[in-house]
């Protein structure tokens, strides 16, 4: 990757909000970029479950639609 590529930003939709992120991040790196602990969330990517075992191999692509959820109190 050239120097300019490393600086490239992409737009993705996370929980309904458009966010800018560095291009080429794995899902693990992307979650960390958002300040989240990958072990404590579940992720749906483009309406499909992202298996926990694949967080290090999935690369975030431009226009991805992600839902990142966790457990909260409920009845």
């Amino acid at each position: 990757m050239g120097r300019n590529d490393a600086m490239t930003k992409i737009d993705v939709t996370v929980n309904g909000e458009v966010r800018s992120a560095p291009a080429g991040l794995t899902l693990t790196a992307f979650l960390e970029y958002l300040g989240l602990d990958p072990r404590k969330v579940a992720v749906e990517r483009n309406l499909e479950i992202a298996p926990r075992s694949a967080y290090d191999t999935i690369t975030i692509e431009p226009e991805d639609r992600l839902e990142i959820v966790h457990f909260v109190g409920g009845g």
């Binding site: 958002l34 409920g74 009845g75």
Partner: protein
């Protein structure tokens, strides 16, 4: 003395017949203390989007250990079978659990379950390999259909969710208990300890509640009260109550009076 056996849901034996929710507490810390006082080993939890603007906010799992308690993910807020399946697939990925609580509601005003959609969602989830505990109306006809579809627990409401009105239709709850082979757990409507005892005296296998504890003035003390009520109701059910009589019947002998 009659010996009880533990409540077993989808092959998992529970220590307590009380299941509690984790919503509406002042804090997760208070929630954790109430849970401890309740003696419950299963809790319901909801799945929601993480807060991206404040990722450091306190999290449920920092206060309640998923290794120590059975987390029962719910489908609160889902109005279709598709919503429920999508939510629970994520819950299964988040926690690795296939035991879930299905609730498919209709109108936000009364939060009654949409039973046609609930039955359809039950079938969809079972096909996906979930063990499904189903929140349902107190209709014995639908309760039977859910059981035939493979639900691992039938959970009729005692009264509308969060109302605290107590067991409104004991006749239907009893009919459901009589016909059902999987556990019957009253879910919703309990307001205070006597309501929980009544549900258990009817022969329910367990009680699930949230608001009755979370919105008590002292939730931790109410959690303890509910623990005792569920045990008392269960023991009274097993002991078999005396028959009701129309007239008085003295407890002291009439013979030998001076």
């Amino acid at each position: 003395m009659t010996q009880d056996v533990p409540l077993t849901v989808a092959g998992r034996a529970l220590k307590s017949r009380l299941i509690i929710g984790t919503g509406k507490y002042e804090s997760y810390e208070q929630n954790a203390r109430a849970l401890e006082a309740s003696g419950a080993d299963m809790i319901t939890v909801a799945l929601r989007r993480v807060n991206l603007s404040d990722p450091g906010k306190p999290r449920l799992i920092d206060f309640i250990d998923p290794e120590k308690y059975i987390f029962l993910p719910n489908t609160a807020g889902c109005f279709t079978g598709e919503d429920a399946v999508r939510t629970l697939r994520l819950a299964r990925e988040a926690g690795g659990w296939k035991l879930v609580k299905l609730e498919v509601l209709s109108d936000p005003k009364h939060l009654y379950p949409d039973m046609a959609e609930t039955l359809r969602a039950t079938e969809m989830l079972i096909k996906e390999g979930f063990d499904v505990m189903v929140y349902c109306s107190d209709d014995p006809v639908y309760a039977r259909k859910l059981e035939e579809a493979g639900a691992c627990a039938i959970m009729p409401l005692g009264a509308p969710i969060g109302s605290g009105l107590g067991i409104q239709n004991p006749v239907n709850i009893r009919l459901i208990i009589e016909q059902t082979r999987v556990p019957v757990i009253v879910d919703a409507g309990v307001g205070t300890a006597s309501d929980a005892a009544i549900a258990m005296e009817l022969g329910c296998d367990g009680v699930l509640m949230n608001t009755a504890i979370a919105e008590a003035k002292d939730p931790v003390l109410m959690a303890s009260a509910m623990k005792h009520a569920v045990i008392a109701g269960r023991e009274a059910y097993l002991a078999g109550r005396m028959p009701k009589k129309k007239y008085a019947d003295p407890s002291s002998p009439l013979a030998g009076l001076i």
